[in-house]
């Protein structure tokens, strides 16, 4: 016992690299603290504690907690945008089942970010709400265009298409929030949620077929 240990006196890497790592530690630590609380209730000192630095060092990375919040939103939004872009490119998303499979995989591998977005979606910080709403509106527009190119939907009124796209996105969003509340991936609860969501999307698509017949 009591043998020698190899110890880094200081962390490896250049100064810039170490700074970036601390910044990431602050952001990751904050997302971790947000697991079961709102952003507004987390203190600067808690955040620095979670990252293993002294409170005053916080200001080397962010000018305020609000600033850190904005950085987290940007980070989460970047992730969300990337996911949506990938999903639109992927040809297999043409079926509801495949879209859901992709959604589950993404949500499970970025739970912290999704939880942050879901939590702050209706939370106190106006800027977050606005950013999220904008992102969602953009995605609904893109989905509307996708729909307008599908066989049988070319003749649809754009307003009606957008209404349907909005309903599909809402349904997927509801499923996402539901997923976050299910801790155990692959559980019976999860399978039931997915089955229900899949049927709901199919119901909407069927409705669109009937809509065409009654409104055109």
């Amino acid at each position: 016992m009591d043998g020698h240990k190899l110890v880094y006196v200081t962390e490896p890497g250049t100064r810039a690299e170490r700074k970036e790592r601390t910044r990431q530690a602050l952001m990751d630590g904050t997302l971790d603290l947000l697991r079961d609380r709102s952003f507004a209730s987390v203190s600067l000192r808690e955040v620095t504690r979670s990252a293993g630095i002294v409170p005053t060092a916080f200001y080397r990375h962010f000018s305020s907690m609000e600033d850190l919040g904005v950085a987290l939103v940007e980070d989460s939004m970047r992730m969300l945008r990337q996911m949506l872009r990938d999903a639109r490119k992927d040809p297999s998303t043409k079926t509801a089942t495949e879209s859901l499979r992709i959604l589950v995989r993404q949500v499970r591998s970025h739970e912290d970010h999704f939880r942050f977005l879901a939590r702050e979606r209706y939370g106190g910080v106006t800027e977050v709400r606005r950013a999220f709403a904008t992102e969602l509106r953009m995605f609904v527009s893109e989905l509307t265009i996708d729909l307008s190119r599908m066989p049988g939907l070319e003749a649809w009124d754009i307003v009606d298409l957008e209404m349907a796209a909005d309903l599909i996105v809402s349904t997927m969003l509801t499923a996402t929030v539901g997923l976050l509340e299910i801790d155990r991936p692959g559980s019976e609860n999860e399978r039931e949620l997915l089955r229900r969501t899949e049927h709901q999307v199919r119901l909407i698509v069927l409705g669109m077929g009937a809509w065409r017949r009654t409104h055109n």
Copy 2:
């Protein structure tokens, strides 16, 4: 100028009445503070300030902020339950348009409570989330029963009916949250939201007709 004024030295009513009034002032003041913040970020001292009493007097009414939070949830839930009960009794709710008209009226006359529920729905307080989820599940069950009694739906599988009821409730919930973000009642934004929601509900109902044909 500087004439006499008639002033109540103490508030009117019995001691119990005045206590109840202070309790209400604490709850109303809190809902007011929650207009653009989360419950977790509101302090006991702010609440008593809003009600015009000294901080220590808070404990004559609630044992803690958490206790006040529970009282607010119960209050809001009571309101919600009453609204849903009334809506189910009202025969005019058989059409989507009428249901939406009732929803708008209720949301507009209880905005504080609805905002509180929407804000805390995914907020940090587990108990609130659970209470809301239970209430919602109960309402979906009731709506499922309503649907099963509608002409043409008697032969439906109960699971399918519940799936459809869930989708309708989600859609109404999304509309509710949307309404809360529109400050100006009767505005073009509000009319557009209602038109879209109405079409979405109709789309779902049409989908149910098509579903029967493809699954039975």
